[in-house]
């Protein structure tokens, strides 16, 4: 879900995803860089991401991932689920206090 969310902003390459996840979460989430790529490939194969080779900001060719329609739908679904779950957790925590 996090990867989908990051990719949803605009097409981005693997390194950028790792950087941005770290930045947005203010260093709370440290993505194991090794597991990032298999995850990206899996999402690509499911058709939630599509990939293109583009010239990057450093002038080198890099693989840019972008969200597909299917991926957007999946993101919405997962977002909704997450909202429900976190709301539920919040409610429980509040009541228990």
């Amino acid at each position: 879900m996090l990867i989908l969310k990051v990719v949803a902003l605009d097409p981005i390459h693997g390194y950028g995803i790792a950087q941005r996840l770290q930045q947005i979460s203010q260093d709370v989430l440290q993505v194991q860089q090794g597991s990032l790529y298999p995850a990206l490939h899996r999402l690509e194969n499911r058709g939630w991401l599509s990939a293109d080779w583009k010239t990057s900001e450093t002038g080198r060719e890099a693989k840019y991932y972008s969200l597909t329609k299917l991926g957007a739908k999946q993101l919405m679904l997962e977002d909704k689920n997450w909202q429900r779950l976190s709301e539920a957790v919040r409610l429980v925590m509040k009541a228990a206090r």
Binding site: H13, G14, Y15, A18, Q32, Q33, G34, S35, Y37, P38, A39, H41, R42, E44, N45, W53, S56, T58, R60, E61, A62, K63
Partner: protein
Amino acid sequence: MRWAQRLFKRGRLEHDLAKELAYHVERRTAELVAEGVDPREAARRVRLEFGGADEIKEACRDARGTRWVEDFLLDCRYALRTMASNKAFTALAALSLALGIGANTAIYSFMDSILLRSLPVRDPESLVTLSWRMRSLGRGEKGPVTVLRAMSGSIYKAPTSGLMAEILPYPAFEVFQKNDSVLSSVFAFRRAGRLNLSIKGQADIASGTYVSGDYFRGLGIPPAAGRLLIPDDDRAGAPAVAVVSLGFSEERFGGAANAAGQSILINNVPFTVVGVTPPEFFGVDPGVAPNVYLPLHANLLLEERAQAAYLDQHYYWIEMMARLRPGVSLKQAQTVLEVPFHQWVESTAETDRQRSDLPSLVLREGGGGLTTLRRQYSKPLYLLMTLVGLILAIACANIANLLLARATTRRREMAVRLSMGAGRLRVIRQLLTESVLLAALGGALGVLFSIWGIRFLTLLLANGSDNVTLSAELNWHVLAVTAGLTLLTGLLFGLAPAIQSTRVDVMPALKEVRAGRVRSRWRISLSHVLVVSQIALSLLILMAAGLFIRTLSNLQSVQLGFNRENLLLFQLNARQAGHRDAEIASFYADLQARLTAVPGVRNVSLSHESLVNAGTSSPISLPGAEQDLSTRLLYVGPGYLTTMQIPMLLGREIGERDQPGSQAVAVVSELFAKKNFGGKNPVGEHLTMGGRDPRDMEIIGVAKDARYGGLKGDVPPVVYIPYNQGSQKFVGQMTYALRTSGDPLSYVNTVRELAHQADARVPVSNITTQTVQIDATISQEIAFAKLCAVFAILALAIACVGLYGTMSYNVARRTNEIGIRMALGAQRGGVIWMVLRQVFLLAIVGLAIGVPAALAASKLVESFLFGMKPNDPLTISVAIAVLVAATVIAGYAPARRASKIDPMVALRHD
């Protein structure tokens, strides 16, 4: 990217992956350098952070979802290399599998074509056959007591109890035609048998079928040329038309297009060919492929006695099929139709006795066509299928055994793989790939073998029965089953060795230099279990072979009562060519005289059927006595008993002086005389024959008993009567018998020539020798005996190879131990005995399992046996002796090798 694209563009994907990861590393390093880290230190930190690049690549490859295919291809490559490096093993394994799979495929293709395949017609699922069931025919003292007074066709035992048949009277057909609420079509047909077909003066014999007008429409058959029969063709007084099969049109008219519109003479009656049936269509009975289809009403033109029988509600003769209306189930149709059928059949009953056992309607699925062939061949085919299945099982056990032995030599390889981090399942998968590939090789060869097998079986199974067309071929259906079977066998013989070989303690196996782990001697190993099961299975097949061979020899030694040697037989039918009344008898007598004049022909005579194929009964009795239906009848020409060399016991035989006008006479068999006259001399007494050809006859002689109607069963009491006395209306087809000096087949051309001279319109058919004809009546037994002998040799050979392999392997493994024994003073004989003892033990355990199993199984084949009980002691003991001898031979070579071991060499051995 699609899954398949991912699979085939692997190269590009790999390249992209490497580039993508390199980019990441580069950026991260650059970032660190920018933060002021030393470039070398930066590179080190990135590598640490990132982890092993290859590991990530592996994970990414897994994510592609094509991993298993890639692995499979790698496994295949590896397996092919292993197979190629071990040629002898591969060849042996593939060959034994090929034999097993080939035999299975060949037999299965027959099962497919005879038992399983649907008719090549439109929507075969909605076809049904109409048949009936009743308790018994209940022939009483005064003839039949049921509504079925006369019949033409077959009645057979129903699966549970009572009798079943498909034959029905014509009025019943009309009943079904009227009740069409559940049937979209109902059509009738009947075999016309062998017809005399004359095209432009060229006469030949062809098989025909009468069909009702709706037959082709009901089946949904399009014509290959012209048109097929329609209801308008099938009514009294319609123009005489016929439809021919495609094969016939090509053979006789030079193509389907030429056939339509041609005129032909069928049994001397002019017909017009209106069309040709399509190539794949063979009628509704897979056993009979008619050349000609005639309207049912043409029966009235071709058969004189049909006039009275056609509408007779007590004469059962036509068979029927119907097509259900869409959405109607078999059960619904049965419920709807049985009411009117019952009403009709009840209306034909005249006595309470008849009403107490009326035929009741049975609807059955008709998509596979008629069941005659199925009834005849289903049991033999299932039996053969079981036997070849057993052979395949033996072959599988054999290969599993060889693989087990090889697995031991590959222990190090497995240990290396496992210690390098290969998963156990992954290794098992790779080993299974190897065995399935091996099986595939065997399967491919097996398909080749099966092509020969089918040819061989066609000859063997159809032997003699010329009106049965057996055809089996390899179609996609059969091949799919073979492929499945191959895969199954591969898994079957591969699984156990694969599991066992991965159950390795890595450390000790790696340290081992050579496979030489000492196991406790009598541990029951998997390989012993396999050998024992092979021996037990081989015994089953040996036993079957023994039983069938004994059955055949029993049949061949049956006392015939006549001389089968140097006897030429052939048939002709002058009636079909237009000979009638008194003239037909003089035609036959004239031909007999012409044949007698041929030099080298010692005797010539004729009968309405040959003795072994005859089966005619007529109510014959002494005046005033009860009719005896067990008496059989043979219409013969003068000198018949002399020609057949059946000795006369009393009086004279039927001769030239017994002419149409003279006193009607008869010769009776010894059994008939004994049964009806006791010790009294019957010569001079009178007999009366009832039925359709009544006569009062004087007994002129008593002949010794001879086989009548096949080799099995009891010899019936027989009465021989002259064919030319009584009503000439029933003189039809005749079988001539020529007693020749020398090879009877060398007279075939002379016979054809003389018959042609006598009348070119009368074709000669079924030319054969008495020996061949007798063999044809026991063709199934001959086929079984030959096939089972081959199977038994095959099974025994495979089992012996298995035993030999196991024992050789055991000896090799125990080289050290045997060396020590010999160094300590063991004699060579003792060593041989030590190995053979193990062989005997395996054989005894195998027999202990096999003998009871064989005894139990032999009861299942009881109906195939003749003149013996299923648990025939001689057969069992021979089978056991052969098996023990074979195992000893197989075990002796390794035992001898063990005794030749040089203690010094053996001890220095690692």
